[in-house]
């Protein structure tokens, strides 16, 4: 399993990639493997304001439906509409084509509290 070092992680298995004041969010390699074949993604609405650890969308697999939590406070600015037709992108390429939403950070300092690739993979991806 792959956990890129450029990303930050949450104990609930989301990754976040920060570029300036914006960031992309998806689920980790571990999460997609545990969920199995993803069959549906209920995307959040762009423009919605969310808090860190707030459930904001749902990923459904053959096994189960799971809430996806925002890693940070912010406003959702874009969603990956490709997932509507091809939810399997999350299984195939969870860190790039399988991103879920883009968020504008309210408080960029929150990123420092998130897990590094090392601590995530050691403590949570097991």
């Amino acid at each position: 399993m792959r956990f890129p070092e450029t990303l930050r992680y949450t104990p609930s298995h989301e990754w976040i990639e920060v570029t300036g004041k914006k960031a992309r969010v998806g689920i980790t390699d571990f999460a997609q493997k545990e969920l199995g074949d993803i069959v549906f993604v209920e995307l959040p609405e762009a423009g919605r304001t969310v808090k860190a650890q707030q459930a904001c969308c749902v990923v459904e697999s053959v096994k189960t439906a799971s809430d996806i939590y925002s890693p940070v406070d912010g406003t959702i600015t874009a969603v990956n509409a490709d997932l509507d037709k091809k939810p399997e992108l999350i299984n195939e390429d969870c860190y790039a084509k399988g991103w879920i939403f883009e968020i504008e950070l309210t408080n960029p300092a929150q990123i420092d509290n998130l897990l590094t690739a090392k601590s995530y993979s050691e403590s949570y991806a097991t």
């Binding site: 074949d37 069959v39 549906f40 053959v62 096994k63 189960t64 399997e88």
Partner: protein, 486 residues
Amino acid sequence: MYEKLIAELSSPGRNAFSLTAWNGEETSVGQYIPENLLRTEPAKLPEVSKIDIVRHFTRLSQKNFSIDTNFYPLGSCTMKYNPKINEETARLAGFAHTHPLQPASSVQGLLKLLYCMERSLSALCGMDAFTLQPAAGAHGELTGMMLIKAYHTKKGDGVSRTQVIVPDSSHGTNPSSAHLAGYEIITIPSDDRGMVDLDALKANLSSRTAAFMMTNPNTLGVFEKNILEVADMVHKAGALLYYDGANLNPLLGICRPGDMGFDVVHVNLHKTFSTPHGGGGPGSGPVGVKSILEPFLPIPRITKNNDTFLLNGYCPDSIGKVSAFYGNIGIIIRAYAYIIINGINGLTRVSELAVLNANYLMSRLAGSFNVPYKEGVMHEFVISLKKEAQTYGVRAMDVAKWLIDNDIHPPTVYFPLIVEEALMIEPTETETIDTLDEFIEHMMAVKDTMRGDPSLFHELPRTTEICRPDEVQAARNPILTWHDRN
């Protein structure tokens, strides 16, 4: 063999009816129905001969897998035998030929039965009052949550108590029902014995808690030994304790949710009280309450005035109606027949045997399979096939398919969520030791086959019309409607 749909059997001009000629005056349908609601072309109804209709539906009925044909150890669903006298009772003309709009004075016998059913359930569950209106278990849960909300609102706490706590082993409907009633869900972990973690409960109870929802025994089949302490903690926080009656089957005549401190319960007549379950019939989820919640019960309430039974619609604090009329009456009649025929001694025996059968199966299977939570197991237990999945690549779903090929309905799979590769087995009280032994033999054969040729499992089942559907494709691109290609 593939059974064509009734629409595919259709051939223009065929029919299965003959009507006598109409000698009266003909009028246009447009006189009675607004023009914009009238069809512009004939409905595409199947045109089929009588014998083809009979054969089609008879063949379909024979494809049915049922408790009347095979062993059905589907955990948490309590797929028990439905005694035929239930059916005979529900078909008595005085019950079967009533109409929901008849005046109460003309259905006194039926109202008496409903009244007695409410009293019987109250006595069995240790509650003060029952409503029979909810049409299924989850409907009962929603009704229960609405009662809890009405109670807190009346006390002035309605706005501040916004949370409902559930254990991580709970039935999925519990958090769903509470959410539908407008509550925020807090999930707490189970302890290493599979019971409610008291510290986690304590940490989450507060002046914001409206209720704690649980079932006892829980979904691992384990009796919550600390239930009195749990009730005490919940009540001290000013919250109410909700009982999901899906697992009531091992408790009849032995102990009562009301005595354990539960304030609201729902029972599933289609589980514990032997009415049809699954595709076999509508459900019924009566809700019982302690007296503090009685004013909020749905209307109408059935009341008795001397020897007359009334449908009382005047209850100012009631949450209103939760059913168009008074619930699934035909099902309630069946369940009442079951209660009367068994009596309290018979019902106690039902529960004793349900527990005995489950524990017999568990102790025989525990030598070959991992049963992660064994302590205090009642009427069902959960096997984890995690090790088998890792070693042989044979998963709970594969074992389920094996059992299908051996004419056994698979146990519940992948639930509860806290057990990996779960198989949840509930034999119920009606099975003989021979049936249980046969099931054990099949499970042993499963184990032997895994050791021999595990790859075989991935092609199962072989005996069914549709063998292994592509579940991923079916979920991603479901085709839900039949379209006439012509």
